[in-house]
Amino acid sequence: MPLISMHGVGKRYQGGVEALSNVSFDIEEGEFVFLSGPSGAGKTTILRLLMRMEVASQGDVLAFGRNLRALRRSAIPYLRRNIGVVFQDFRLLQERTVAQNVAVGLHVLGLSRRDIRRRVEGVLFDLSIDRYAHHLPSMLSGGEQQRVAIGRALVMHPALILADEPTGNLDWELSNEIVRLFEELNSKGTTVIMATHDRFLLDAYQRRTIVLNRGMVIEDRAAPREATQQSSQE
């Protein structure tokens, strides 16, 4: 059973803007998938549907075996605890330190102070930003701030990471760093879905890519590695 499944999904916003039309794809557990396409293609809408920040107008969106259209409001927080989100603009709390930013979600889980400290220190170390633990975000570079944002997602031990243009504000070198970080997480079993319109990244990292345009899937390109495996099986 796929981790994520979309079948005939359409999304029409108030005012009649059609963001998605008849979108269908499956994503298996442990996959690394790029969502690609120009601005306004529907990448962010797909991520918002998966976070249950929006509800599909048509079709079915299934995640973790649950139909998100039928999900009760009270069940949404528990769905989101399985998902880590990373944004282009980092969305860090500027008046809190790096460690406090990473820890913000752990209070939701009701962990003890000791567990929170242990998890935060571990994540900061893994992301090589442990020396900034007591710095404010404004004192860090863009790449470092994005690492903090990734740390905030990772510390919750999510099964799925949704990244919405996480390299949009970064230069090529830092973008590479971030994608390599996602690859590393993916190699440990975390499913990653990353929206990007950066062709250089798509070319550099040969991963499955779902290409969108005007709200429709125009191409679902398997990773060359997977494609090779498929052809050898045939």
Binding site: V85, V104, S112
Partner: protein, 304 residues
């Protein structure tokens, strides 16, 4: 399940901490909010207290009133005895004493200027025999006076039932005026509290504005409605309690000062009502309710 209990306790402590932190978001506005609640609470309690005092004073005036019953000239002494017995048998009457014409005349003379009295012959000052009826302590008020007066007028041989020094009709008018003032004060107090409620809502809304980014992040990380809204509720409850309890304490201090002044200035046993032990808990409960209402309105107005 000790793990679940520990988690619940940790989350509760965290939420209380967040509520306290919310108070510090805009300390000036929070202080102004608590101050306005305190003033409103103080005024509410004092208006209720002065209203009770006024009613108490009127009641005492009614109790100390004496009704003068003027008898017709031809009523014989044995009939006077009979009337005194009938009146004295009433449960609300303490005593009924006979008053001679001379006693009534000398009482009337005291009401006239001295030079007028000296220029008049003694028989020119009116005097009529009658009865002086005194209420039993605690048996009368404004209603009691009206009831007794009606009874006295119905008796044979009674000429006039005189208004007491503070007339019953005047007492009734005063009581009505005090009742009206109390109603007006209650309405004003309610309006004042509604006004302060909006102050509470404004302060909490500001906290929510300040925490908007954090709330968005918390939502995305899986925070429940309760986790997001409880700190706002806690902040509102703490503000409301702090405000109304301070107001009640201020009212207690003010009434203590007023009582001390009354004791020095007036030789009367009239005091603001003593404060029941439940005043502060009631103020705390009222403040908590007000704060909770403010939090509900604030979170309903703005998605938290």
């Amino acid at each position: 399940m000790p793990g679940a209990s520990a988690r619940f306790v940790r989350q509760s402590l965290h939420l209380v901490g967040q509520g306290l932190r919310g108070i510090l978001v805009s300390p000036g506005q929070t202080a102004a909010c608590i101050m306005s609640l305190a003033v409103a609470g103080c005024l509410v309690v004092l208006s209720a207290s002065f209203g009770s005092l006024a009613v108490d004073v009127l009641d005492r005036a009614g109790r100390s009133a004496r009704v003068l019953v003027y008898l017709k000239d031809e009523v014989p002494a044995n009939r006077v005895q009979d009337l005194m017995a009938r009146i004295g048998a009433r449960s609300d009457v303490d005593s009924a004493q006979y008053m001679t014409r001379e006693q009534d005349r000398s009482r009337n003379a005291e009401l006239l200027p001295r030079d007028v009295i000296q220029s008049l012959p003694a028989e020119a000052i009116p005097g009529q025999h009658g009865l002086e009826v005194t209420f039993r302590p605690g048996a009368a008020g404004t209603q009691g006076i009206a009831s007794l007066s009606a009874f006295l007028r119905s008796l044979e041989g009674v000429d006039v039932v005189a208004e007491p020094p503070v007339g019953s009709s005047r007492l009734r008018a005063l009581a009505a005026a005090v009742g009206f003032m109390r109603t007006v004060a209650a309405i004003l107090a309610a309006l004042l509290l509604v006004g302060t409620l909006f102050f509470v809502v404004g302060t909490l809304t500001r906290t929510m504005e300040h925490r908007r980014d954090e709330i968005v992040i918390l939502r995305l990380l899986g925070a429940t409605d309760a986790f997001v809204r409880l700190p706002i509720l806690i902040q509102g409850v703490l503000q409301g309690m702090a405000g109304l309890v301070s107001g009640a304490i201020a009212a207690i201090l003010v009434s203590g000062t007023v009582n001390a002044w009354l004791a020095v200035e007036f030789d009367v046993a009239v005091r603001l009502p003593s404060w029941p032990e439940s005043t502060l808990p009631l103020a705390a409960a009222g403040g908590a309710l007000l704060g909770a209402a403010g939090a509900l309105i604030a979170t309903a107005r703005r998605e938290a």
